[in-house]
Amino acid sequence: MTSAKIWRKMPEYYELVGKECEKCGALFFPARPICKKCGSSKLQDHKLEGQGVIKTFTIIRTPIAGDDVLEKIICEIPYALAIVQLSEGPCLTAQIVDCEADEVVIGKNVEVVFRKVFESGRKGAICYGYKFRLSE
């Protein structure tokens, strides 16, 4: 991913900024230009809290390999990938970190953490963003 693209994604990756439809109140993550529910284009930024629940998950044992040119995904191997339903409603896909594979269970509560997501090799920019860990 190029610098410009990473820069555009910062509000979303760093602070879970999505959109709220001014017309019907629907919330989206990530931001999109048209309300999925009512079609309005009057949307405002909405920062999500970062609390959620595991909806489904898998333990990935063969990641996307990268090199100095392509994005190098930064993760343990194996790693847990989950679809997290945020408390406000929207769902997203993210790694579950700081736990063993057998601790990842559908229905457990999770909280967002700020981690390295990928880097474009040793010389490239580091892309930081959201991952989740089990919350007490």
Binding site: M1, F57, I59, T62, I64, G66, C75, L81
Partner: protein, 384 residues
Amino acid sequence: MRDVAVIGVGATKFGQLWDNGLQDLATSAINLSLNDARISRDSVQSLYVGSMSGGLFSSQEHLGSLFADWAGLKNVPATRVEGACASGGLALRQAYIDVASGMHDVVVVVGAEKMTDISGAAVTRALSTAASYENEAVFGATFPGLYAMIARMHMEKFGTTEEQMALVAVKNHQNALSNPYAQFHRQITMEDVLRSTKLADPIKLLDASPISDGAAALILVSKDYAQKNSVEPVWIAGSGCATDTISLHDRDDMLTLKATVLAAKQAYQQAGVGPGDVQIAEVHDCFTIAELLAIEDLGFVEKGKSGPFVQAGNTDITGKIPINVSGGLKAKGHPIGATGVMQAVEIVSILSGRTKGKCINAEIGLTHNIGGSGGTAVVHIFKK
């Protein structure tokens, strides 16, 4: 809308085809389909190409021009169509619309993909562009990972088991034994599947379709042309297409590929048939769980009941509704853009009797092609 017939089919073998580059494969399939239809190159009025990514796999775009050029289809209008793994099905649909609308009378559709010229890591990355790159792939979502998350939900909600998923792979390998085009001619057992390398729990290596090279082509003509040229047609009775959210996490119900349901509904309606009338189907088994979802979403079995349905042998070649008698993506191979067209080659071959000895009484067949984790679905219904 005019009636459209398929009068020619052609395909290369699927597999690791080191001697052939992308345009070689496409040309081969086109030539075979022209010979099969017994029409000359000059009769072709339009070309549609289904290919996911000539750019990422072969550093080559502009495939319409390239394939028309290489296949001797001089100056013919050519369009490359892309919908990730549904590229072939979408190209078929565009070709169908071209004839049905009256724009052209004789149209070729070719699906082709050359996946083995780049490293495995580069292939995985190329495939990940079928998902949301920015919100799924860079966070570590691989395709086995996405389908594994669907599988886990299916297992949690409906009690589907890894054994039931494995049976899909066993059946498809068994079916491929008699398919000369198939990448694998190897019987496997349920044990083999369950013990194979874990990719993304619960999906294992033998639950997953392989990386393949290959091409397939069809000749589509108008009813008038078919009648004037005394050929034995198979009719495209229905064509349906729908999209859904690109990201799996944005779906209304992650256990139903809504795009399949909507595309199938359109196709059934146009063809004037229901799921119960379909006698044979080629569905998109990129992973074994995908075949289970497909037979549910196409209406062959109730949502959630696909596991027991398969276990009882209903989708075997001798079963109630034979699914993937070609071997499916799993055993036949999955050169991405070729798949959607190859499924049609298979159904047309069976309905027309080109394939001897398999499902000889079938008169109505269905093809089902998916892009990504369900972002696009294309369904076609064929009638003898």
